[in-house]
Amino acid sequence: MKNTSLNISIENVTKKYDEFYALKDISLDITSGEFMTLLGPSGSGKTTLLMVLAGFTNPDYGSVKFGDEEVILKPPHLRGIGMVFQNYALFPHMTVEQNVGYPQKLRGVSKAEISRTVDEALTTVKLEGLGHRRVDELSGGQRQRVALARAIVFKPKILLMDEPLSALDKKLREEMQIELRQLHDKLNMTTVYVTHDQKEALTMSDRIAVINGGELMQLGSPNEIYEHPQNGFIADFIGESSLLPVKVSKGNVSIGSAKIKVAKQPGKDGDYLLVVRPEKVFLASANKKNDENYFHGELLDSIFQGESQLLVIKLANKLNKEQTLRIRIPNQSVTDKAFPSIGENVTLALKVADSYLVS
């Protein structure tokens, strides 16, 4: 069921509630067939932006185009989008079949064709044979699939999803993430996906738009966003990271009294943050190398987490704040590698290539 999808172009969309900006001059181009995730903490404006696309919220000004067509003045029912809601929003008085057939019935599709497309959509979401069930007989995961089938049955060119997996338990959620991604690749609809779960965003998206305080903070592929966050907020929000305050003056980067080398020197002097991802730091070996930065500290805590061991280290530099670093050591095959014990002094290493500064 391939279909031609549409690109979306959002320009200068602004929405103000009293003195509070829900959306502040957002411009964003989503290419046709792309899986775009709007990622941000709650209250960041990501859902408001999705509601603007769907037509449920009107911005104060700005333009939204589907393809070449301006849709900002169009009511939701004329926008021809498929939408999946956070709490499924299935119609409780209808069976699965009636729910999925609803948009087709509205479009005046013939009975035989409704039945064929409903079966096709149910097969796509792996719910074949459950058409006669009532909605309240289904599990959360099944309901989510029905909601999805209902949103794709009429082959919309654009699919909007508002935290569709947040009500599911972790394991099911992770399965569904991969399934949704595969489904997207198969159907090739332009998909706009809203989530506050950074891992979900990294897993599923072609590109991620990080939104905070109603503003678009960074736009990029999952890899770019993770490896090169544009500021401290994004570095902190995406993935686990410790942010160490550093000073840059005359080309020298120093953390406390110690000098470090970084991958890319910032252009201006000033205060910056060093992004330290826990999987990129490691316990230093005896002989020092030129391409590594070293940190000394005391082991505060050592936590077994199944797939990895998390070590929390209090840094022994001369900073005012008590600064801790987290390091994650993967639990590879059977290792008899002994971890340092709590209270012991340790030396951590971070490759210069992985030493990344944000403002």
Binding site: A54, Q86, A89, V135, R150
Partner: protein
């Protein structure tokens, strides 16, 4: 395997469960006594009396009278006509209002709810007499209509069906709005959004999604209003001015004027049975689980 009675702490745990049962029974006891003393026994007595004729022997004359006497048939027709009309008018006024309230923010909805409930908290008798004053020949309503030049002669609003309906609708309206509003509030707002995103015009979304989901509340409201109307006494008695005679008024006159307890009881039994049948049909019409899972 151990004998059941030998299992650890089993006896004590059973005793605990039994004790809990007694506590619940004890808590419901006062109500149980009230129901038996004030409902079961009097209703049984009512049944018994309805089968006693004027001469004090068992007979069906009280029931025979109902379909043989034209006066009785007329009373039943009036009772049903007034009850049905009141229910329909209440629905016509109450549904849009409840819908409007359900779409408001919590704060404004509560203010509206107070406005709906204030008359509900005022004495029935006071409200009925107030309508009598407002609607009479030289009352406020007629005066305004005449001053505005809409009519030249005062309209007859009271001591007839119109007056009875105006008063009854006013008194019954909250009974329809309360369950309907509660039901409408519980409807997931995203359902309407979903319908709209799937291509339904607002009108279509209302008919295919909102209305079906509000039916249980509507039906509950209609039932309460209709059943209450069947046995309504005060308002039709005052605003009908003796010209609109409903079953409850006939019961009263049977006792007060003719001391005919048998006839009065038979009427009471018929009202009770009719109300029971309607409730039964309604419970079949909307099964509890059709209310959905939200």
């Amino acid at each position: 395997m151990n004998l059941i009675s030998d299992n650890v702490n089993q006896k004590e745990l059973r005793r605990l469960a039994a004790k809990e049962g007694y506590t619940f029974f004890g808590l419901t006891l006062p109500y149980l006594v009230l129901v038996i003393a004030l409902i079961a026994i009097p209703v049984g007595w009512l049944f018994y009396l309805s089968f006693i004729g004027r001469d004090g022997t068992l007979s069906l004359e009280n029931y025979e009278r109902m379909w043989k006497s034209k006066a009785y048939i007329k009373i039943f027709i009036t009772t049903f006509k007034i009850s049905i009309l009141t229910t329909i008018i209440c629905a016509a006024i109450g549904y849009p209002l409840a819908y409007f309230m359900s779409q408001l923010s919590k704060k404004w909805a509560n203010i509206c709810m107070v406005a709906v409930l204030i008359p509900f908290w005022t004495s029935l008798l006071v409200r009925t007499y107030a309508w009598l004053v407002l609607l009479q020949k030289k009352g406020l309503v007629n005066n305004i209509l005449i001053d505005a030049g809409i009519i030249s002669e005062p309209l007859k609003f009271v001591h007839n069906t119109t007056g009875t309906l105006i008063g009854m609708v006013h008194i019954m309206l909250p009974f329809l709005i309360l369950p309907l509003y509660a039901n409408m509030r519980a409807i997931d707002k995203d359902c309407m959004k979903a319908a709209s995103s799937l291509g339904a015009t607002p009108t279509r979304a209302f008919w295919t999604v909102f209305l079906p989901l509000s039916l249980p509340g509507l039906l509950a409201g209609l039932l309460i209003v209709f059943v209450l109307c069947l046995g309504f006494y005060v308002t039709p008695a005052i605003l009908g001015g003796g010209k609109v005679i409903m079953a409850a008024m006939k019961i009263s006159s049977n006792i007060e004027m003719y001391f005919n307890w048998g006839a009065a009881s038979a009427l009471g039994v018929v009202l009770l049975v009719v109300a029971g049948i309607i409730l039964f049909i309604a419970s079949k019409l909307v099964s509890v689980d059709q209310l959905g899972n939200r």
